[in-house]
Structure formats: C-alpha cells, structure tokens
C-alpha cells in the first residue's frame, strides 16, 4: 500500500537539505519521494502530520528482550510492540538471555523469532565471552558472518583486564565494536542504589560512582592500547562522562550512551523504597543528571539508549534489596527526551534525534537512521503538543515497572511506520 505523509516537519539527521516542512511518499516499503506539496495517487492512504514532527524510525542501542529464556518478563513479540509504541523501528537486544547469545545458533534463533513475531527490526549484540563467564572469547568470526556487529557481556564487566584487552584487539579486525558495561563488581556488589546521603538515610547499601568510573578509565585505556573502537553503555556519573570527553579530545574512537532515567532522575527518587527506582547503574545525584544532559548537548554522549530491562510484576513487587535491577523504558524514552532535553534544557531537537537514530545506527554498523529517497520507509511521527500521563498498565511491554508512572510528559509518538507498514498508531 502507498502512503503519503503530509505537512509534517521533518527532522532528518545526516541530510541537512531534507529538513523542515516536507511531504513523504511511501511506495512498496520505500520512500519514493520527499518534497513539497506531494499529491496522493489513487488508493494512497494519507496521514496528516500537520503540526507534528517526522523523524527517521528511532534506533535503540540497548534493549533487553529476554527471549530466549525469560519470556515471562518479555518476549520478542511484546518487546517489539512496545518498541513500536515508543517510536522505535530498530532495536538492539543485549545478549544476557538464557542461553546467552554467545554463538551463531542463538543469534539466528533471535533473528528467526523476530521475523516471525516481531513488528520491527531486531538486531543483536553477542557476548564477549562464552556464557558471559568472563573466561574465554566467543567465536567472533562466526558471529560476524551471522550479522553481529557489536559484542558485550552487558550486565557484567569483563573483570579480567587482560581478556578485555585481547577481546578489543581481536574484535578490531572484523570490525566488531565492544560495548562496555563499566562496573567494578568488587565495589558494587550487594549495592542497591547510589552511594550518597540518600543511601545513608535509607540504610541501603550504596554503589559508589567510582565503581563505574574506574571501569570506564580502564576500558578507555585498554581500547587505546588495543587501537580498538569502544562504546560505553549507560554512563551515569559526572566522572565517567568527563573521562569520555577527555578520551574523545585525544582523538580516540570511543562513544557513549545515557538513558532517559539517568538524564531525568536523581537518587532522591529512591526515598520511599519504590523498586521502580532500582536500576543499574543506579540513579545518581543532581550534578550527575546535569552532566548527562551536558554530555548530550555537547556531543560527548552521542546516543540515548533505553536500557529497557523488563521484569515480571512479582519480581519487582518485593523488598527493595531483593528486587532485580531494571525498568521498562521503551514506551517513555522519546517523550522524556523531548520533555527533559528539548523543552527543559533547550537542547536542539536535531541533536536529540541524532542520538536516537543515526548515531546509534553507526555504532551498530547499520545504514539506517536517516530518511532519503529510495531508502527504507521507516519513520516516526511525533506530536509535540500532546500532553499525556504515563500509565504503566497501558504499556505493551510485559514489564510495567517505571519510575515515571503518573508523570506528565509533553509530546508523544502518534505513528510508527516500519518498511512502509504502520506498526503503531496512537488512538
């Protein structure tokens, strides 16, 4: 079916000339034409995007889809529907499934299930080490041939610095990009939240900022030694972002991401022991939130990623120390980015959308994240005027835990189109 998107305001990173008030004509899953005053042909469906933005389909670099193994938390069908509702047309799943994604057959399993039951595109990061055990490297060549472009033991750091060095060196030849989960376990073990005055008052064990910063410093130095690319996942502290900024100034090919919860919330949210505030890395302090915002603004942080980490209700509904880390992030991310980063902190929309499209696409080595004639028709229509309240029971994700429950946000995805198909529409 053909589709004409009329009167939208195009925000299109990487294509400076294709921005502003433009129509898009979609034919057979591709963008046939971008221009002014395009006419709908016979049988062409028209979407009126007046006073709305049109973005390239959003890309989420960091999603836990839980399948295979933990389908009660989320599966590829529910996770991709949630992603579509959040405006994403490509998501990258992390390999801490059961079994973990550490070999070609699991990569192919995820791909097949995604083709059969997913509504958008799913790509996978594979493990750095077999079984995520931190002992032996995975078969990188085989994984590369299977389409993998990034590796991570996300959830755990590769503790052995020597092994991490070799992983970076070996990965560089394909090239595969290593995504670092920067957390020194010896400093974070047993911790529930950020270590600070709030953890002192609450009597919860803290995770110091140094647990992340020491790991970030180590991995930057190892990447330099290995002459490798490196991507730093979910940075949360002022110190980490400063280390990344310094590394980039020295010309190292190192990138970083932050999550919407880390650029919005502080550890004060933990008062009351609501387990929807339990995330890893933990919510930090005011200056860290501001460092995340500044990092996005000045480009140090090139990606916004959700770290969508859904859990079943019964797992989160328990004592704070016994609840698992992780929240449902896909369905609030772009609205939080718009409300917090654009409206509150005045960051240009083009910067924010690049961090949700072309920048993560580059790390995934995917030629997507921008809208061009003859390119795939994956795009997101966003209504910046709509105010709405986050209602977890309306989430399409199986994970309903969110620290944003009840919060009013401005701007919301009104349609998500993946390869010319309407995969989500707000009604």
């Amino acid at each position: 079916m053909n589709l004409l998107i009329k009167n939208g305001d195009l925000v299109n990173p990487g294509k400076p000339k294709l921005n502003g008030k433009l129509d898009l004509l979609v034919k057979q899953g591709k963008i046939a034409k971008i221009g002014e005053n395009l006419k709908a042909g016979k049988g062409c469906q028209v979407i009126d995007a007046t006073r709305q933005y049109v973005f390239p389909g959003l890309v989420d670099l960091h999603v836990h889809l839980r399948e295979p193994g933990h389908e009660y938390k989320e599966d590829i069908a529910s996770g991709t529907k949630a992603a579509a509702r959040g405006g994403f047309t490509t998501i990258n799943c992390m390999p801490n499934t059961e079994p973990p994604i550490d070999n070609r057959s699991v990569v192919e399993f995820v791909r097949e299930v995604a083709k059969a039951s997913g509504v958008i595109r799913v790509v996978t990061t594979a493990c750095i080490t077999k079984g995520r055990a931190g002992k032996e490297l995975v078969e990188m060549a085989d994984l590369y041939e299977a389409g993998v472009r990034t590796l991570s033991d996300d959830g755990d750091m590769v503790e052995d610095a020597h092994l991490m060095r070799r992983a970076l060196e070996y990965a560089g030849m394909f090239p595969l990009t290593i995504i670092s989960h920067a957390e020194v376990a010896g400093l974070s073990r047993g911790g529930d939240m950020n270590e600070g005055f709030v953890s002192t008052k609450l009597g919860l064990k803290g995770i110091p900022a140094a647990a992340e910063e020491i790991a970030v410093a180590r991995d930057i130095r190892l990447a330099e030694l290995a002459k490798a690319r490196l991507h730093l996942a979910h940075l949360s502290t002022t110190g980490s972002i400063e280390l990344l900024r310094t590394a980039q100034k020295r010309g190292l090919p190192i990138t970083g991401e932050v999550t919407p919860h880390h650029f919005t919330l502080t550890d004060e949210e933990t008062v009351g022991y609501d387990t929807s505030t339990k995330v890893n890395p933990p919510l930090r302090e005011r200056q860290d939130v501001l460092a995340c915002v500044r990092g996005i603004e000045d480009g140090t942080i090139s990606c916004i990623a959700t770290d969508h980490a859904p859990h079943a209700g019964f797992e989160k509904e328990r004592e704070y120390s016994r609840a698992p880390f992780g929240i449902s992030g896909l369905e609030t991310a772009v609205s939080l980015a718009f409300t917090e980063l654009h409206l509150k902190h005045k960051i240009p929309l083009a910067t924010i959308i690049a961090a949700l499209t072309i920048n993560p696409a580059r790390i995934l080595a995917l030629d997507i994240g921008t809208l061009a004639e003859n390119g795939p028709a994956s795009l997101t229509i966003f209504d910046p005027n709509l105010k709405w309240r986050v209602e977890p029971s309306a989430f399409l994700s199986k994970g309903k835990s969110t620290p944003f429950a009840g919060r009013e946000l401005t701007g919301r995805v009104s349609s998500t189109i993946y390869n010319g198909r309407l995969v989500y529409q707000f009604d």
């Binding site: 002192t200 609450l202 009597g203 919860l204 803290g206 009351g272 019964f314 004592e319 704070y320 016994r322």
Partner: protein, 303 residues
C-alpha cells in the same frame, strides 16, 4: 500534640511533638508495669502478630509482653518456622495475616524499607521493629525515654554514639530522635564503619576517641558485629577494642552509658562499666516495655 499515624515506621518522619506524645504516654505505662498485677484491658480483643524475619530475642519478647500486658492476643512468627522460608513473598504473608484480621503487624526484617512497603499494602497498623540498616524506632523511643528519665531533659545534652554506625538502624533512629529533641550528637567510629555523608544529618564525626568523648554527658555504645572483620572493614577485634573499647577512664566521671544489647563484653565495652552504677542498660530493657505499650496504645487510638 497527638499521635494520629496508622503506622510507626521510623523516627525520621516524626515531629518532636509526636515523639514527646509517645514518651509522655509511656510514663503511665511504666507505672503499670511496676505494679504487682500488670495487666490492663486496653487492647482486649485486638490481635498483634510479631513477624520476625531475622533473629531477635529482646525486641520480640518486649513486644510480646507489651501486647500481653495490654490484654491483646499475640502471635509470633519467625522466619524459620513460617512459609516465608519456603519462598512465600513478604506481601503474600502480610496479605494473609491481614485477611486473618490482625490489628497490628510488628515487623523485623533484614531488608530496609520493607515495613513501609507493607504499610502501604495492608490495613493493619505496621510497627517497624527494625529494618535492615534503616530504622528501629521503638529502640530509639525507649532510649529517649531512658535519657529523659535520667537527665530530665534532652535539649543541649551532649551525646556520643560510638561504634558501627554504617550497619546500625539503632544509630540512625537515635540520631534522628536526639537531634529532633535538641541534643548535640557526636559519632565516633573508624571511617569504614561510617556511612557516607552522615554528617549531613547534623552530627559531628570523630574517627578516634578524643575530647569529644570526655565532654559527653551520655555515651551510647553500639554492638560490633563480629563479621565486620571478614568484610574488610576492620583489621580485627583486638585493634577495635584498643581504639574504641569504652571503659571508665575514657569517659567523663559524670557520664552515663547505654547500649542496645546484646553486649560484646570486653570488645566495645568493659564489664565493670556495662553493669556498673553508670550503666542504663537494664533501665533500657524495662523502658522498652513501657514505650512499646505506649506505641500499641497510641496507634490503636487512631482507629
């Protein structure tokens, strides 16, 4: 000033007035427990469930007796003997106990914040009998009662709390209570047993015993858990006793001594002091009953 809460979860959220009204009520209950016949009918027909998910003797017995002196029906559940040990969730347990129409749930748990979580979920009055390293409000109330009884007033009193502040709910509850009632509080502990930014609560902090301890009117000694040595927090008990062990030569001649029990004699405090004339340890235990009776009474008064 009246007390109108459904639950008693911590001292932090109480006003000075609320604390005082609890302490005032405890005076009459202390009079009752000094009688020959201790039983009063105040809570006849009410049910108290002591849900103790962590070992405890004195707090559990104190709540049990407090309930019995008030004529309530009291049931004790401990972690080992309950379905909690079979993996039943805390919420399930609490919902079940509520469905049995328990009026009070007295909860001791290793998990900070769990009593607050329960209080939101059940209609029963929830009393925090110690949650992880967070709070132990009835301990602080009995300590404040004991201090007030001994010193008449808490305002401007110099109090030193010495020992493992990091892992201590007793310390946190007492710091809140003492500060709200106007005491000057100094904490004395090695850096490894002090939680980060604790001075932001409004206390002075000392790493070693110095003149601050000599100036104290009251020295509150905390129990040192022996496993702290294994956690890398201390080189050993011998060195701890040498640096922080309290004996009569280290404190002012007028100072009184308190301890929440159980004591590690010869480690954090020496025998002579612990049971000597300057110790308030047994008063604390007696006052614990009176204070817990007052808490049960005032919480039920709300319904």
């Amino acid at each position: 000033m009246s007390f109108t809460r459904k639950d008693l979860l911590g001292i932090e959220e109480l006003s000075a007035g609320e604390i005082q009204s609890l302490l005032v009520a405890a005076v009459s209950f202390k009079e009752i427990i000094e009688r020959n016949v201790k039983k009063v009918p105040t809570l006849r027909g009410k049910t108290i469930i002591n849900l103790f998910l962590e070992p405890s003797t004195r707090t559990r017995i104190s709540f049990e007796l407090a309930g019995k002196y008030l004529s309530a029906d009291v049931i004790n559940i401990s972690a080992g003997g309950s379905s909690v040990s079979k993996g039943e969730s805390l919420l399930d347990t609490a919902k079940t106990l509520e469905a049995m129409k328990a009026d009070y749930l007295v909860v001791r748990t290793p998990f900070a914040g769990a009593p607050l979580y329960l209080a939101k979920m059940v209609k029963s009055a929830v009393i925090n009998a110690g949650d992880g390293a967070h709070e132990h409000p009835t301990q602080a109330l009995l300590d404040l009662f004991t201090i007030q009884e001994k010193f008449q007033q808490i305002r401007s009193l110099k109090v030193a709390i010495i020992g493992d502040i990091s892992h201590s709910r007793v310390a946190r509850s007492n710091i809140w209570g003492l500060l709200k009632l106007g005491a000057e509080v100094t904490l004395i502990a090695p850096p490894t047993l002090l939680p980060i930014d604790i001075e932001k609560m409004g206390v002075k902090v000392r790493f070693k015993i110095d003149d601050e301890l000599k100036k104290a009117d009251l020295v509150y000694v905390l129990r040192l858990q022996r496993e702290r040595q294994r956690g890398g927090l201390l080189p050993g008990l011998r060195e701890y006793a040498r640096l922080y062990g309290i004996n009569s030569s280290r404190i002012s001649k007028k100072a009184m001594v308190m301890h929440p029990g159980p004591l590690n004699q010869g480690i954090e405090i020496d025998d002579e002091l612990a049971y000597g004339p300057r110790s308030l340890v047994t008063d604390q235990v007696t006052n614990g009953l009176a204070v817990r009776m007052a808490v049960l009474y005032l919480l039920v008064g709300k319904k």
